[in-house]
Protein backbone atom coordinates (compact mmCIF):
# COMPACT_ATOMS: atom_id res chain seq x y z
CA UNK A 1 0.00 0.00 0.00
CA UNK A 2 1.42 3.37 -0.95
CA UNK A 3 2.40 5.83 1.74
CA UNK A 4 -0.04 8.44 0.47
CA UNK A 5 -2.92 5.96 0.67
CA UNK A 6 -1.77 4.89 4.14
CA UNK A 7 -1.81 8.50 5.30
CA UNK A 8 -5.28 8.97 3.81
CA UNK A 9 -6.48 5.84 5.59
CA UNK A 10 -4.92 7.06 8.85
CA UNK A 11 -6.63 10.44 8.57
CA UNK A 12 -9.91 8.70 7.92
CA UNK A 13 -9.52 6.40 10.89
CA UNK A 14 -8.63 9.32 13.16
CA UNK A 15 -11.53 11.30 11.79
CA UNK A 16 -13.96 8.58 12.86
CA UNK A 17 -13.01 9.25 16.48
CA UNK A 18 -12.61 13.02 16.45
CA UNK A 19 -12.93 13.63 20.15
CA UNK A 20 -10.60 10.83 21.10
CA UNK A 21 -8.03 11.87 18.49
CA UNK A 22 -8.13 15.45 19.71
CA UNK A 23 -7.72 14.48 23.35
CA UNK A 24 -4.80 12.25 22.43
CA UNK A 25 -3.25 15.10 20.51
CA UNK A 26 -3.82 17.46 23.41
CA UNK A 27 -0.98 15.81 25.31
CA UNK A 28 1.39 16.49 22.44
CA UNK A 29 -0.02 19.97 21.87
CA UNK A 30 0.63 20.96 25.47
CA UNK A 31 4.07 19.36 25.42
CA UNK A 32 5.20 21.09 22.23
CA UNK A 33 3.61 24.35 23.34
CA UNK A 34 5.58 24.21 26.56
CA UNK A 35 8.83 23.39 24.77
CA UNK A 36 8.42 26.13 22.16
CA UNK A 37 7.34 28.75 24.70
CA UNK A 38 10.09 27.89 27.17
CA UNK A 39 12.83 27.90 24.53
CA UNK A 40 11.56 31.22 23.20
CA UNK A 41 11.64 32.75 26.68
CA UNK A 42 15.12 31.40 27.29
CA UNK A 43 16.37 32.58 23.91
CA UNK A 44 14.76 35.95 24.45
CA UNK A 45 16.53 36.35 27.77
CA UNK A 46 19.83 35.34 26.21
CA UNK A 47 19.53 37.72 23.30
CA UNK A 48 18.48 40.68 25.44
CA UNK A 49 21.32 40.09 27.90
CA UNK A 50 23.80 39.87 25.06
CA UNK A 51 22.42 43.01 23.49
CA UNK A 52 22.65 44.90 26.73
CA UNK A 53 26.21 43.81 27.33
CA UNK A 54 27.33 44.62 23.82
CA UNK A 55 25.82 48.07 24.32
CA UNK A 56 28.34 48.48 27.10
CA UNK A 57 31.02 47.90 24.48
CA UNK A 58 32.40 44.64 23.25
CA UNK A 59 36.02 45.71 22.76
CA UNK A 60 36.42 47.12 26.24
CA UNK A 61 38.91 46.10 28.90
CA UNK A 62 38.71 47.21 32.50
CA UNK A 63 41.88 47.51 34.53
CA UNK A 64 41.36 47.68 38.26
CA UNK A 65 43.87 47.64 41.08
CA UNK A 66 44.16 44.43 43.05
CA UNK A 67 43.11 43.64 46.57
CA UNK A 68 44.95 45.50 49.33
CA UNK A 69 46.63 43.21 51.84
CA UNK A 70 48.01 44.78 54.96
CA UNK A 71 48.79 43.05 58.26
CA UNK A 72 46.79 40.02 57.32
CA UNK A 73 43.65 41.93 56.28
CA UNK A 74 42.42 41.77 52.73
CA UNK A 75 40.55 44.60 51.10
CA UNK A 76 38.17 44.00 48.19
CA UNK A 77 39.18 44.21 44.56
CA UNK A 78 40.10 47.76 43.72
CA UNK A 79 41.09 48.63 47.25
CA UNK A 80 44.75 49.16 46.37
CA UNK A 81 45.96 52.54 45.39
CA UNK A 82 48.56 51.22 42.99
CA UNK A 83 46.94 52.47 39.78
CA UNK A 84 48.08 55.93 38.73
CA UNK A 85 47.05 58.24 35.88
CA UNK A 86 50.55 57.70 34.46
CA UNK A 87 49.75 54.00 34.04
CA UNK A 88 46.83 54.93 31.83
CA UNK A 89 49.01 57.27 29.81
CA UNK A 90 51.67 54.56 29.40
CA UNK A 91 49.07 52.01 28.27
CA UNK A 92 47.82 54.14 25.42
CA UNK A 93 51.30 55.15 24.38
CA UNK A 94 53.12 51.81 24.61
CA UNK A 95 50.55 49.13 23.83
CA UNK A 96 49.98 48.81 20.05
CA UNK A 97 46.67 46.94 20.45
CA UNK A 98 45.16 49.70 22.55
CA UNK A 99 43.29 52.51 20.90
CA UNK A 100 42.07 54.76 23.70
CA UNK A 101 42.08 54.86 27.48
CA UNK A 102 40.21 56.75 30.09
CA UNK A 103 41.24 56.79 33.74
CA UNK A 104 38.28 56.67 36.10
CA UNK A 105 37.71 57.91 39.59
CA UNK A 106 34.34 57.32 41.16
CA UNK A 107 32.49 58.37 44.26
CA UNK A 108 29.06 59.48 45.37
CA UNK A 109 28.42 63.00 46.50
CA UNK A 110 25.65 65.37 47.45
CA UNK A 111 24.86 67.77 44.62
CA UNK A 112 22.98 71.03 45.08
CA UNK A 113 21.26 73.31 42.59
CA UNK A 114 19.32 76.24 44.05
CA UNK A 115 16.97 74.66 46.59
CA UNK A 116 17.24 71.13 45.24
CA UNK A 117 19.71 68.44 46.08
CA UNK A 118 20.46 64.91 44.87
CA UNK A 119 22.97 62.15 45.43
CA UNK A 120 24.16 60.71 42.14
CA UNK A 121 27.33 58.76 41.47
CA UNK A 122 30.18 61.01 40.39
CA UNK A 123 32.46 59.64 37.75
CA UNK A 124 35.77 61.30 36.97
CA UNK A 125 36.80 60.33 33.44
CA UNK A 126 39.07 61.28 30.59
CA UNK A 127 37.84 63.24 27.60
CA UNK A 128 37.79 60.11 25.40
CA UNK A 129 35.21 58.26 27.50
CA UNK A 130 32.38 59.07 25.07
CA UNK A 131 34.26 57.52 22.16
CA UNK A 132 35.39 54.52 24.20
CA UNK A 133 31.97 53.70 25.61
CA UNK A 134 30.01 54.74 22.56
CA UNK A 135 27.89 57.12 24.61
CA UNK A 136 26.10 60.00 23.01
CA UNK A 137 25.29 63.54 24.09
CA UNK A 138 21.72 64.69 24.16
CA UNK A 139 22.60 68.35 24.41
CA UNK A 140 25.62 70.56 24.90
CA UNK A 141 29.22 69.38 24.69
CA UNK A 142 31.68 67.22 26.58
CA UNK A 143 34.82 68.47 28.32
CA UNK A 144 38.03 68.43 26.35
CA UNK A 145 41.56 67.12 27.02
CA UNK A 146 42.66 70.62 27.94
CA UNK A 147 39.89 70.74 30.57
CA UNK A 148 41.19 67.45 31.97
CA UNK A 149 44.76 68.75 32.13
CA UNK A 150 43.62 71.94 33.81
CA UNK A 151 41.28 70.13 36.23
CA UNK A 152 38.46 72.40 35.08
CA UNK A 153 35.28 72.53 37.12
CA UNK A 154 33.04 71.35 34.30
CA UNK A 155 30.47 68.60 34.46
CA UNK A 156 28.17 66.61 32.18
CA UNK A 157 24.89 65.32 33.63
CA UNK A 158 23.01 62.08 33.20
CA UNK A 159 19.29 62.20 32.44
CA UNK A 160 18.13 61.19 35.92
CA UNK A 161 20.20 63.93 37.54
CA UNK A 162 18.73 66.52 35.18
CA UNK A 163 15.20 65.39 36.01
CA UNK A 164 15.79 65.57 39.74
CA UNK A 165 17.74 68.81 39.96
CA UNK A 166 16.24 70.90 37.20
CA UNK A 167 12.69 69.60 36.83
CA UNK A 168 12.23 70.80 33.27
CA UNK A 169 14.48 73.88 33.44
CA UNK A 170 17.37 74.13 30.99
CA UNK A 171 20.53 73.00 32.80
CA UNK A 172 22.96 74.28 30.17
CA UNK A 173 25.53 76.72 31.56
CA UNK A 174 24.05 76.58 35.06
CA UNK A 175 26.24 76.23 38.11
CA UNK A 176 25.72 73.26 40.41
CA UNK A 177 27.59 72.54 43.63
CA UNK A 178 29.23 69.19 44.20
CA UNK A 179 30.50 69.00 47.77
CA UNK A 180 30.18 72.80 47.92
CA UNK A 181 32.41 73.23 44.86
CA UNK A 182 30.74 75.00 41.94
CA UNK A 183 30.75 73.19 38.58
CA UNK A 184 29.49 74.52 35.27
CA UNK A 185 27.11 72.21 33.36
CA UNK A 186 28.47 71.65 29.84
CA UNK A 187 26.00 69.13 28.52
CA UNK A 188 23.55 66.29 29.08
CA UNK A 189 24.15 62.62 28.21
CA UNK A 190 21.63 60.71 26.12
CA UNK A 191 19.53 58.25 28.07
CA UNK A 192 20.98 54.77 28.49
CA UNK A 193 18.40 53.14 30.74
CA UNK A 194 18.58 50.53 33.46
CA UNK A 195 21.47 48.10 33.41
CA UNK A 196 19.73 45.25 35.12
CA UNK A 197 18.36 45.42 38.63
CA UNK A 198 18.18 48.83 40.23
CA UNK A 199 21.36 50.20 38.77
CA UNK A 200 20.42 53.38 36.90
CA UNK A 201 23.08 54.25 34.32
CA UNK A 202 21.65 57.73 33.95
CA UNK A 203 22.02 58.65 37.60
CA UNK A 204 25.56 59.97 37.05
CA UNK A 205 27.59 63.15 36.77
CA UNK A 206 30.73 63.05 34.68
CA UNK A 207 33.62 65.39 35.57
CA UNK A 208 37.29 65.41 34.47
CA UNK A 209 39.12 62.74 36.52
CA UNK A 210 41.80 65.28 37.48
CA UNK A 211 39.13 67.50 39.00
CA UNK A 212 37.64 64.57 40.87
CA UNK A 213 41.08 63.58 42.21
CA UNK A 214 42.18 67.01 43.33
CA UNK A 215 39.01 68.86 44.28
CA UNK A 216 36.51 66.21 45.29
CA UNK A 217 38.58 63.36 46.77
CA UNK A 218 42.12 64.60 47.30
CA UNK A 219 43.77 61.42 46.03
CA UNK A 220 46.68 60.64 43.70
CA UNK A 221 45.56 57.23 42.42
CA UNK A 222 42.70 56.26 40.14
CA UNK A 223 40.05 53.57 40.67
CA UNK A 224 39.85 52.11 37.24
CA UNK A 225 41.15 52.39 33.68
CA UNK A 226 38.78 51.81 30.78
CA UNK A 227 40.66 50.65 27.71
CA UNK A 228 39.36 50.17 24.20
CA UNK A 229 41.23 47.76 21.99
CA UNK A 230 41.68 48.61 18.32
CA UNK A 231 39.32 45.75 17.45
CA UNK A 232 37.40 42.91 19.08
CA UNK A 233 40.01 40.45 17.75
CA UNK A 234 42.93 42.23 19.39
CA UNK A 235 41.37 41.94 22.86
CA UNK A 236 43.60 39.15 24.06
CA UNK A 237 46.81 40.73 22.74
CA UNK A 238 45.80 44.03 24.35
CA UNK A 239 45.24 42.23 27.62
CA UNK A 240 48.66 40.61 27.35
CA UNK A 241 50.42 43.89 26.55
CA UNK A 242 48.73 45.77 29.37
CA UNK A 243 49.56 43.04 31.84
CA UNK A 244 53.25 43.05 30.90
CA UNK A 245 53.45 46.82 30.93
CA UNK A 246 51.84 47.21 34.34
CA UNK A 247 53.98 44.49 35.93
CA UNK A 248 57.05 46.33 34.66
CA UNK A 249 55.81 49.72 35.76
CA UNK A 250 54.86 48.48 39.21
CA UNK A 251 58.22 46.76 39.61
CA UNK A 252 56.72 43.37 40.31
CA UNK A 253 59.13 40.47 40.67
CA UNK A 254 58.40 37.24 38.81
CA UNK A 255 57.08 35.60 41.98
CA UNK A 256 54.78 38.51 42.84
CA UNK A 257 51.14 38.30 41.97
CA UNK A 258 49.56 40.96 39.79
CA UNK A 259 48.54 44.03 41.80
CA UNK A 260 45.81 44.71 39.24
CA UNK A 261 43.08 42.84 37.44
CA UNK A 262 41.98 43.04 33.86
CA UNK A 263 38.44 42.17 32.97
CA UNK A 264 37.14 41.86 29.52
CA UNK A 265 33.59 42.51 28.31
CA UNK A 266 33.61 39.50 26.00
CA UNK A 267 34.26 37.20 28.97
CA UNK A 268 31.37 38.69 30.89
CA UNK A 269 29.14 38.46 27.86
CA UNK A 270 30.08 34.85 27.29
CA UNK A 271 29.51 33.91 30.91
CA UNK A 272 26.11 35.55 30.98
CA UNK A 273 25.09 34.03 27.65
CA UNK A 274 26.19 30.63 28.89
CA UNK A 275 24.07 31.03 31.99
CA UNK A 276 21.10 32.00 29.87
CA UNK A 277 21.77 28.98 27.65
CA UNK A 278 21.78 26.70 30.68
CA UNK A 279 18.49 28.21 31.79
CA UNK A 280 17.01 27.57 28.34
CA UNK A 281 18.10 23.94 28.46
CA UNK A 282 16.63 23.57 31.92
CA UNK A 283 13.30 25.08 30.89
CA UNK A 284 13.17 22.99 27.72
CA UNK A 285 14.07 19.90 29.70
CA UNK A 286 11.24 20.44 32.13
CA UNK A 287 8.86 21.18 29.27
CA UNK A 288 9.86 18.03 27.38
CA UNK A 289 8.67 15.93 30.29
CA UNK A 290 5.15 16.95 29.35
CA UNK A 291 5.91 15.96 25.76
CA UNK A 292 6.94 12.54 27.05
CA UNK A 293 3.68 12.24 28.93
CA UNK A 294 1.87 13.17 25.73
CA UNK A 295 3.72 10.38 23.95
CA UNK A 296 2.63 7.86 26.56
CA UNK A 297 -0.94 9.06 25.96
CA UNK A 298 -0.52 8.25 22.27
CA UNK A 299 0.77 4.78 23.03
CA UNK A 300 -2.15 4.19 25.36
CA UNK A 301 -4.75 5.20 22.81
CA UNK A 302 -3.05 3.30 19.99
CA UNK A 303 -3.09 0.14 22.10
CA UNK A 304 -6.79 0.61 22.73
CA UNK A 305 -7.28 1.27 19.05
CA UNK A 306 -5.43 -1.92 18.04
CA UNK A 307 -7.53 -4.04 20.41
CA UNK A 308 -10.69 -2.40 19.13
CA UNK A 309 -9.80 -3.06 15.54
CA UNK A 310 -8.45 -6.61 15.71
CA UNK A 311 -11.26 -7.78 13.40
CA UNK A 312 -10.46 -5.01 10.96
CA UNK A 313 -6.82 -6.14 11.01
CA UNK A 314 -7.97 -9.72 10.33
CA UNK A 315 -10.11 -8.59 7.40
CA UNK A 316 -7.26 -6.59 5.94
CA UNK A 317 -4.90 -9.54 6.31
CA UNK A 318 -7.40 -11.91 4.73
CA UNK A 319 -7.50 -9.78 1.58
CA UNK A 320 -3.72 -9.62 1.33
CA UNK A 321 -2.35 -7.00 3.73
CA UNK A 322 1.21 -7.87 4.75
CA UNK A 323 2.65 -7.41 8.26
CA UNK A 324 4.35 -4.34 6.94
CA UNK A 325 1.08 -2.81 5.72
CA UNK A 326 -0.55 -3.26 9.12
CA UNK A 327 2.54 -1.98 10.94
CA UNK A 328 2.66 1.08 8.70
CA UNK A 329 -1.06 1.69 9.07
CA UNK A 330 -0.89 2.01 12.85
CA UNK A 331 2.50 3.67 12.90
CA UNK A 332 1.35 6.30 10.42
CA UNK A 333 -1.76 6.88 12.52
CA UNK A 334 0.40 7.49 15.59
CA UNK A 335 2.75 9.78 13.67
CA UNK A 336 -0.14 11.70 12.11
CA UNK A 337 -1.55 12.17 15.61
CA UNK A 338 1.73 13.37 17.05
CA UNK A 339 2.67 15.55 14.07
CA UNK A 340 -0.73 17.21 13.91
CA UNK A 341 -0.47 17.75 17.66
CA UNK A 342 3.07 19.02 17.15
CA UNK A 343 2.00 21.54 14.50
CA UNK A 344 -0.84 22.78 16.67
CA UNK A 345 1.57 22.95 19.59
CA UNK A 346 4.02 25.03 17.55
CA UNK A 347 1.29 27.46 16.50
CA UNK A 348 -0.09 27.80 20.03
CA UNK A 349 3.49 27.98 21.33
CA UNK A 350 4.27 30.94 19.08
CA UNK A 351 1.03 32.64 20.06
CA UNK A 352 1.70 31.78 23.70
CA UNK A 353 5.16 33.29 23.71
CA UNK A 354 3.78 36.45 22.07
CA UNK A 355 1.22 36.67 24.85
CA UNK A 356 3.87 36.09 27.51
CA UNK A 357 6.09 38.81 26.11
CA UNK A 358 3.22 41.29 25.92
CA UNK A 359 1.80 40.51 29.37
CA UNK A 360 4.91 39.82 31.40
CA UNK A 361 7.09 42.14 29.33
CA UNK A 362 9.73 39.47 28.82
CA UNK A 363 11.46 39.42 25.49
CA UNK A 364 10.85 36.15 23.60
CA UNK A 365 12.58 34.86 20.50
CA UNK A 366 10.91 32.06 18.53
CA UNK A 367 13.77 30.62 16.53
CA UNK A 368 13.44 28.39 13.48
CA UNK A 369 15.68 25.90 15.22
CA UNK A 370 13.34 25.55 18.20
CA UNK A 371 10.36 25.05 15.88
CA UNK A 372 12.28 22.47 13.85
CA UNK A 373 13.34 20.74 17.03
CA UNK A 374 9.79 20.61 18.36
CA UNK A 375 8.55 19.24 15.03
CA UNK A 376 11.20 16.54 14.79
CA UNK A 377 10.73 15.70 18.44
CA UNK A 378 6.98 15.26 18.12
CA UNK A 379 7.46 13.04 15.05
CA UNK A 380 9.96 11.00 17.02
CA UNK A 381 7.49 10.69 19.89
CA UNK A 382 4.89 9.36 17.43
CA UNK A 383 7.28 6.78 15.96
CA UNK A 384 8.64 5.75 19.33
CA UNK A 385 5.35 5.38 21.16
CA UNK A 386 3.41 4.21 18.10
CA UNK A 387 5.80 1.41 17.26
CA UNK A 388 4.88 -0.99 20.03
CA UNK A 389 1.11 -0.98 19.39
CA UNK A 390 1.68 -1.10 15.61
CA UNK A 391 4.03 -4.05 15.93
CA UNK A 392 1.57 -5.80 18.18
CA UNK A 393 -1.10 -5.36 15.51
CA UNK A 394 1.14 -6.61 12.71
CA UNK A 395 2.10 -9.77 14.63
CA UNK A 396 -1.49 -10.96 14.83
CA UNK A 397 -2.37 -14.23 13.17
CA UNK A 398 -4.98 -13.64 10.41
CA UNK A 399 -7.34 -16.38 11.56
CA UNK A 400 -7.09 -15.41 15.25
CA UNK A 401 -7.74 -11.79 14.35
CA UNK A 402 -10.78 -12.74 12.26
CA UNK A 403 -12.23 -14.90 15.02
CA UNK A 404 -11.66 -12.23 17.71
CA UNK A 405 -14.85 -11.13 19.39
Amino acid sequence: MSLLKTIQAALKALNKNKMRSFLTMLGIIVGVLAVVAMISIGQGAKVSVQERISQLGSNLLFVRPGSAFRRGVHGGWGSRTSLKPEDAKAIVEECPSVEMVSPEVSTRAQVVYKNKNWNPSISGTGADILAIRGWEMEAGSFFRNSDVRGAAKFCVLGKTVVENLFEGANPMGEIIRIRQIPFTVLGVLAERGQAGGWFDQDDVILVPYTTAQKRLLGIQHINNIVVSAVSAESMSSAEQEISELLRRRHNLADYDEDDFRIRNMADIQEAVAETAGTMTMLLAGIASVSLLVGGIGIMNIMLVSVTERIREIGIRMSVGARDRDILMQFLVEAVVLSLTGGLMGIITGIIGSRIISSIAGWPTVVSGASIGLAFVFSAAVGVFFGFYPARKASKLNPIDALRYE
Binding site: V319, A321, R322
Partner: protein, 235 residues
Protein backbone atom coordinates in the same frame (compact mmCIF):
# COMPACT_ATOMS: atom_id res chain seq x y z
CA UNK B 1 -5.52 -16.30 -14.64
CA UNK B 2 -5.61 -19.87 -15.77
CA UNK B 3 -9.03 -21.12 -16.61
CA UNK B 4 -8.01 -24.15 -18.58
CA UNK B 5 -10.21 -26.92 -17.32
CA UNK B 6 -8.78 -30.13 -15.90
CA UNK B 7 -5.63 -28.35 -14.78
CA UNK B 8 -4.82 -29.29 -11.22
CA UNK B 9 -5.34 -26.26 -8.96
CA UNK B 10 -5.25 -27.71 -5.46
CA UNK B 11 -3.67 -30.90 -4.22
CA UNK B 12 -4.03 -31.67 -0.54
CA UNK B 13 -2.19 -34.67 0.87
CA UNK B 14 -2.60 -36.15 4.31
CA UNK B 15 -3.49 -32.83 5.91
CA UNK B 16 -3.86 -32.77 9.69
CA UNK B 17 -4.68 -29.97 12.06
CA UNK B 18 -4.49 -30.27 15.82
CA UNK B 19 -5.58 -27.47 18.16
CA UNK B 20 -4.13 -27.30 21.63
CA UNK B 21 -6.69 -26.00 24.03
CA UNK B 22 -4.78 -26.01 27.26
CA UNK B 23 -4.36 -29.69 28.21
CA UNK B 24 -6.84 -30.96 25.65
CA UNK B 25 -5.85 -31.74 22.07
CA UNK B 26 -8.57 -31.25 19.53
CA UNK B 27 -7.99 -32.99 16.21
CA UNK B 28 -9.80 -30.96 13.57
CA UNK B 29 -8.42 -32.69 10.50
CA UNK B 30 -7.03 -36.20 10.43
CA UNK B 31 -5.19 -36.96 7.21
CA UNK B 32 -7.31 -35.35 4.52
CA UNK B 33 -6.29 -35.83 0.87
CA UNK B 34 -8.06 -34.59 -2.24
CA UNK B 35 -7.55 -32.68 -5.47
CA UNK B 36 -9.41 -29.81 -7.07
CA UNK B 37 -9.16 -29.10 -10.77
CA UNK B 38 -9.44 -25.68 -12.27
CA UNK B 39 -13.04 -24.74 -13.06
CA UNK B 40 -14.45 -27.08 -10.43
CA UNK B 41 -17.36 -26.22 -8.12
CA UNK B 42 -16.91 -28.20 -4.96
CA UNK B 43 -19.30 -28.26 -2.01
CA UNK B 44 -17.78 -29.31 1.30
CA UNK B 45 -20.45 -30.56 3.62
CA UNK B 46 -20.68 -31.94 7.10
CA UNK B 47 -22.02 -31.24 10.57
CA UNK B 48 -20.49 -28.49 12.66
CA UNK B 49 -17.17 -29.46 14.20
CA UNK B 50 -16.38 -31.83 11.35
CA UNK B 51 -13.34 -29.77 10.33
CA UNK B 52 -14.66 -28.28 7.11
CA UNK B 53 -14.07 -24.66 8.16
CA UNK B 54 -10.58 -25.55 9.37
CA UNK B 55 -9.83 -27.01 5.95
CA UNK B 56 -11.21 -23.88 4.30
CA UNK B 57 -8.99 -21.62 6.43
CA UNK B 58 -5.93 -23.68 5.53
CA UNK B 59 -6.77 -23.61 1.83
CA UNK B 60 -7.37 -19.87 2.15
CA UNK B 61 -3.87 -19.43 3.67
CA UNK B 62 -5.37 -17.93 6.82
CA UNK B 63 -4.22 -20.86 8.95
CA UNK B 64 -1.41 -23.40 8.76
CA UNK B 65 -1.76 -27.19 8.91
CA UNK B 66 -0.06 -29.15 11.65
CA UNK B 67 1.26 -31.60 9.06
CA UNK B 68 0.67 -32.64 5.47
CA UNK B 69 1.12 -30.95 2.13
CA UNK B 70 -0.92 -28.31 0.40
CA UNK B 71 0.01 -27.49 -3.17
CA UNK B 72 -1.63 -24.49 -4.79
CA UNK B 73 -0.95 -24.20 -8.54
CA UNK B 74 2.10 -26.39 -8.04
CA UNK B 75 3.51 -24.32 -5.15
CA UNK B 76 3.98 -25.84 -1.71
CA UNK B 77 2.12 -23.34 0.46
CA UNK B 78 3.44 -24.56 3.82
CA UNK B 79 6.93 -23.48 2.72
CA UNK B 80 5.91 -19.88 2.07
CA UNK B 81 6.75 -17.12 4.54
CA UNK B 82 4.23 -14.60 5.89
CA UNK B 83 4.88 -12.07 3.18
CA UNK B 84 4.39 -14.64 0.41
CA UNK B 85 1.23 -15.94 2.09
CA UNK B 86 -0.15 -12.41 2.10
CA UNK B 87 0.62 -12.26 -1.62
CA UNK B 88 -1.22 -15.55 -2.23
CA UNK B 89 -4.24 -14.31 -0.25
CA UNK B 90 -4.20 -11.11 -2.22
CA UNK B 91 -3.75 -12.45 -5.75
CA UNK B 92 -4.91 -16.05 -5.89
CA UNK B 93 -7.68 -16.38 -3.34
CA UNK B 94 -11.00 -14.66 -2.90
CA UNK B 95 -12.49 -15.47 0.48
CA UNK B 96 -16.20 -15.05 1.34
CA UNK B 97 -17.08 -15.35 5.02
CA UNK B 98 -20.27 -16.30 6.77
CA UNK B 99 -20.12 -13.01 8.72
CA UNK B 100 -19.43 -10.95 5.53
CA UNK B 101 -16.46 -9.25 7.26
CA UNK B 102 -16.89 -5.92 5.55
CA UNK B 103 -15.17 -2.94 7.16
CA UNK B 104 -17.80 -0.89 8.99
CA UNK B 105 -18.11 2.83 8.27
CA UNK B 106 -16.47 2.21 4.90
CA UNK B 107 -18.48 2.37 1.67
CA UNK B 108 -19.21 -0.69 -0.44
CA UNK B 109 -16.88 0.62 -3.14
CA UNK B 110 -14.01 1.18 -0.70
CA UNK B 111 -14.54 -2.28 0.77
CA UNK B 112 -14.28 -3.81 -2.69
CA UNK B 113 -11.19 -1.69 -3.44
CA UNK B 114 -9.41 -3.00 -0.35
CA UNK B 115 -7.57 -5.98 -1.95
CA UNK B 116 -6.48 -3.70 -4.84
CA UNK B 117 -4.99 -1.27 -2.33
CA UNK B 118 -2.60 -3.96 -1.17
CA UNK B 119 -1.86 -4.91 -4.78
CA UNK B 120 -0.60 -1.38 -5.53
CA UNK B 121 -3.06 -0.66 -8.28
CA UNK B 122 -3.53 2.97 -9.32
CA UNK B 123 -6.50 4.87 -7.95
CA UNK B 124 -8.27 5.10 -11.29
CA UNK B 125 -7.93 1.40 -12.09
CA UNK B 126 -8.96 0.57 -8.55
CA UNK B 127 -12.17 2.43 -8.97
CA UNK B 128 -12.92 0.95 -12.36
CA UNK B 129 -12.25 -2.65 -11.24
CA UNK B 130 -14.26 -2.22 -8.06
CA UNK B 131 -17.22 -0.78 -9.97
CA UNK B 132 -17.07 -3.65 -12.46
CA UNK B 133 -16.96 -6.16 -9.66
CA UNK B 134 -19.93 -4.59 -7.89
CA UNK B 135 -21.88 -4.60 -11.18
CA UNK B 136 -21.13 -8.31 -11.54
CA UNK B 137 -22.96 -9.06 -8.29
CA UNK B 138 -25.79 -6.67 -9.10
CA UNK B 139 -24.85 -3.86 -6.73
CA UNK B 140 -24.42 -1.06 -9.27
CA UNK B 141 -25.64 2.19 -7.81
CA UNK B 142 -24.95 1.09 -4.24
CA UNK B 143 -21.25 2.06 -4.33
CA UNK B 144 -21.49 4.81 -1.73
CA UNK B 145 -23.64 2.84 0.70
CA UNK B 146 -22.15 1.76 4.01
CA UNK B 147 -22.52 -1.88 5.12
CA UNK B 148 -25.05 -0.77 7.73
CA UNK B 149 -27.21 0.61 4.93
CA UNK B 150 -27.21 -2.70 3.03
CA UNK B 151 -29.30 -5.80 3.71
CA UNK B 152 -27.59 -9.03 4.71
CA UNK B 153 -27.83 -10.41 1.18
CA UNK B 154 -26.42 -7.20 -0.27
CA UNK B 155 -23.56 -7.19 2.20
CA UNK B 156 -22.68 -10.73 1.20
CA UNK B 157 -22.82 -9.75 -2.47
CA UNK B 158 -20.47 -6.85 -1.72
CA UNK B 159 -18.18 -9.33 0.01
CA UNK B 160 -18.27 -11.55 -3.09
CA UNK B 161 -17.42 -8.51 -5.22
CA UNK B 162 -14.44 -7.89 -2.95
CA UNK B 163 -13.35 -11.51 -3.28
CA UNK B 164 -13.54 -11.29 -7.07
CA UNK B 165 -11.98 -7.91 -7.63
CA UNK B 166 -8.35 -9.06 -7.83
CA UNK B 167 -9.23 -11.75 -10.36
CA UNK B 168 -8.29 -14.70 -8.13
CA UNK B 169 -7.70 -18.32 -9.17
CA UNK B 170 -10.41 -19.52 -6.85
CA UNK B 171 -13.22 -18.38 -4.66
CA UNK B 172 -13.54 -19.86 -1.18
CA UNK B 173 -16.86 -19.42 0.59
CA UNK B 174 -17.40 -20.47 4.18
CA UNK B 175 -21.16 -20.83 4.80
CA UNK B 176 -21.90 -17.83 2.55
CA UNK B 177 -25.66 -18.21 2.97
CA UNK B 178 -25.57 -18.94 6.68
CA UNK B 179 -26.42 -15.40 7.74
CA UNK B 180 -28.91 -14.35 5.10
CA UNK B 181 -32.54 -15.13 4.42
CA UNK B 182 -33.37 -17.95 2.01
CA UNK B 183 -34.35 -15.59 -0.81
CA UNK B 184 -30.98 -13.83 -0.67
CA UNK B 185 -29.29 -17.20 -0.22
CA UNK B 186 -30.75 -18.41 -3.50
CA UNK B 187 -29.58 -15.20 -5.22
CA UNK B 188 -26.08 -15.66 -3.88
CA UNK B 189 -25.97 -19.25 -5.09
CA UNK B 190 -27.11 -18.04 -8.53
CA UNK B 191 -24.16 -15.66 -8.56
CA UNK B 192 -21.77 -18.47 -7.67
CA UNK B 193 -23.25 -20.70 -10.33
CA UNK B 194 -22.95 -18.12 -13.07
CA UNK B 195 -19.42 -17.22 -11.98
CA UNK B 196 -18.46 -20.86 -12.27
CA UNK B 197 -20.22 -21.50 -15.54
CA UNK B 198 -19.56 -18.24 -17.37
CA UNK B 199 -16.29 -17.04 -15.89
CA UNK B 200 -14.94 -20.55 -15.23
CA UNK B 201 -13.96 -19.54 -11.72
CA UNK B 202 -13.09 -22.40 -9.38
CA UNK B 203 -15.34 -22.34 -6.35
CA UNK B 204 -15.08 -24.17 -3.01
CA UNK B 205 -18.07 -23.72 -0.77
CA UNK B 206 -18.60 -24.92 2.76
CA UNK B 207 -22.21 -25.51 3.72
CA UNK B 208 -24.43 -27.84 5.66
CA UNK B 209 -27.44 -27.15 3.51
CA UNK B 210 -28.18 -29.96 1.03
CA UNK B 211 -30.19 -27.58 -1.11
CA UNK B 212 -27.18 -25.29 -1.54
CA UNK B 213 -24.87 -28.12 -2.48
CA UNK B 214 -27.10 -29.03 -5.43
CA UNK B 215 -25.66 -26.02 -7.27
CA UNK B 216 -22.19 -27.58 -7.09
CA UNK B 217 -20.58 -30.04 -9.48
CA UNK B 218 -19.02 -32.15 -6.81
CA UNK B 219 -19.59 -32.78 -3.12
CA UNK B 220 -17.37 -33.95 -0.25
CA UNK B 221 -18.86 -35.02 3.05
CA UNK B 222 -16.87 -34.52 6.24
CA UNK B 223 -17.23 -36.13 9.60
CA UNK B 224 -14.80 -35.93 12.53
CA UNK B 225 -12.03 -34.46 10.42
CA UNK B 226 -12.20 -37.04 7.65
CA UNK B 227 -13.75 -37.25 4.22
CA UNK B 228 -16.35 -39.97 4.45
CA UNK B 229 -17.98 -39.52 1.05
CA UNK B 230 -17.20 -37.96 -2.32
CA UNK B 231 -19.87 -37.61 -4.96
CA UNK B 232 -20.27 -36.04 -8.38
CA UNK B 233 -23.55 -34.14 -8.47
CA UNK B 234 -23.74 -32.74 -11.97
CA UNK B 235 -21.22 -32.09 -14.66
Amino acid sequence: MNNTEDKELIRVENLTKIYHMGEVEVVALRGVSFKVKSGDFLAIMGPSGSGKSTLMNIIGCLDKPTSGNYMLEGTEVSKLDKRQLAYVRNKKIGFVFQMFNLLPRTTALENVELPLLYANITARNRRRLAEESLALVGLSGRETHYPSQLSGGEQQRAAIARALVNNPSMLLADEPTGNVDSQSGAEIMEIFKSLNQEKKITILIVTHDMEISRSAKRMMLFRDGEIIKEQIINN
